[in-house]
Amino acid sequence: MSAMLATEALQKKFDAVTAAANITLSFDADTVVSLIGANGAGKTTFLNMVTGYLKPDSGRIQFGERDIVGLSPREITKLGISRSFQIPQLFQTLDVRENLLIAERIAGADNPAAATEAALARFELGPYASRPAGLLPEGIRKLLDVAMALSSRSKLLLLDEPTSGVSADEKLAIMDVVMGAVWAAGVTVIFVEHDMDIVARFAGRVVAFYDGAIIGDGPPEIVLRMDEVRRYVIGEETAHAAA
């Protein structure tokens, strides 16, 4: 039984910047993994390569049995990988319900209307259903972004900083809603996160990036206490406070 997602020796350089240096990772199904690292460490580049937005300079990416390097985001989405974004990618002029409805219809749901209502309920978006996506508060935009990603019948869900841009007290609430909905759908999750409390609380495995390379990979209790991770990702102060 092969891993759900496996990358092998991924390399990516942007002129002088190494965004990915020999990244070899493998992810099993039914896990929740968090990617951590400072800004520019290569996390989003990793997501971009897995979803086909960027092509690695070299290396392989396998989703199940399938080699997916060179496929477009559209093709990869249809294979079962979907994604939410650091800056939520929504349809500004359509309202929340219409955003979800079109996501369901593109995904080919049997009953898009029912699936939309279910998504509205699961993500607690009911009160905002008729508001245009361009006029939503940031936390709701994030939820909608994830809800739209989830509706594509995905097997693997990649969340790029699902709680960024949201106030500290809202972060936990949003993550609770997201993970609750994701759990109900039985989807494998990889999420990028900067808030270590959230990472510790929701992730079963943590992969730490630094300068395009992986400096830690394992359960949160171990990785979050590693010296290098404390120095390059968390910052000494926070590590002391958390310990």
Partner: protein
């Protein structure tokens, strides 16, 4: 071998003309993100103003060489007056709007200016053959060639080099480049973007008018000469990459040479050849040869 020399010369002459008419378009787009469709009417305005000014100069029996100075004067006047009127009177209220809306706006300006030109100069064609005939001709491969074309090539070179020098060596030029690169940051460091916009538009308008003024002696100036120019200029600018002056120069050269060869061997396909070059370049490089690198979106 014999055919290559006239083709090359013709090609470079045409390329010079193309560069003159395209440089302003790409400059304005690069700085202000406006594709100025009215560029065509500024070109036409330059041609008409040149006819009037140089025509009056010559009619007063003044030394014929001075008519060239009149061509330059016409360009500068059109650029400064029409350019300032347009930018301060209309465009400055429209910044921030969708790029296509800005195209619609300049398109509307184009329509307006076409009729304004007709009202001022009438619909009959104007002729200004003197500056073209004056420098005489020289022999190229046994055939006579107008020295005027050499002038055009010289003008394009001087213009291109001057623009490059101003952009890269002067303080004002570097401010322009800064605005091209990142408008918000430029404002944040204290660059008066509004003034940069005005200066850019006036320079761009002057370049358009320059193209028109120096074309006037070679054609019959009629209403509508601006229309074909805007489409051609756009093709050249697109080939080179929107906003790139070097790209406009290279694009002009490419189109000029290909067109010249086509006219020599297969005249009917002249128009096709120009757009064929554009289509081929776009297929290989969808944003043109030297398109600006786009920042990562997600």
């Amino acid at each position: 071998m014999n055919a290559l020399l006239p083709i090359a010369f013709d090609g470079v002459a045409y390329a010079s003309w193309l560069f003159l008419v395209s440089a302003g378009l790409t400059l304005i787009y690069g700085v202000m993100r406006i594709l100025n469709v009215a560029h065509g009417s500024l070109y036409a305005l330059g041609a008409y103003a040149a006819c009037s000014l140089a025509g009056a100069w010559l009619a007063n029996q003044l030394p014929a060489a001075g008519s060239f100075a009149m061509l330059l004067l016409a360009s500068v006047l059109v650029g400064c007056i029409a350019g300032t009127l347009l930018e301060r009177g209309l465009l400055q209220w429209m910044y921030g709007r969708d790029e296509v809306v800005l195209v619609l706006i300049t398109y509307a300006v184009f329509l307006i200016m076409e009729d304004v030109i007709k009202v001022i100069w009438g619909v009959d064609s104007l002729l200004l053959p003197e500056p073209y005939a004056l420098p005489g001709s020289f022999s190229l491969g046994g055939l006579p060639y107008p020295v005027y074309n050499l002038l055009l090539i010289g003008l394009a070179l001087v213009t291109g080099l001057a623009l490059a020098w101003v952009l890269n060596r002067t303080r004002q030029g570097k401010m322009l480049l800064a605005v091209i690169h990142d408008r918000e940051m430029s404002m944040a460091v204290g660059i008066n973007v509004s003034r940069v916009y005005l200066a850019t538009f006036v320079v761009g308008a002057t370049l358009a008018a320059l193209g028109g003024a120096f074309t006037a002696p070679t054609v019959a100036v009629t209403p509508g000469i601006g229309v074909e120019v805007i489409v051609l200029a756009f093709a050249v600018v697109v080939i080179g990459g929107l906003g790139s002056l070097g790209g406009a120069a290279l694009g002009a050269l490419l189109v000029g040479l290909v067109r010249s060869a086509t006219v020599h061997y297969w005249p009917e396909a002249e128009l096709f050849s120009i757009y064929a070059v554009m289509a081929i370049v776009l297929i290989a490089r969808p944003k043109g040869l030297f398109a600006a690198q786009e920042a990562r979106k997600i």
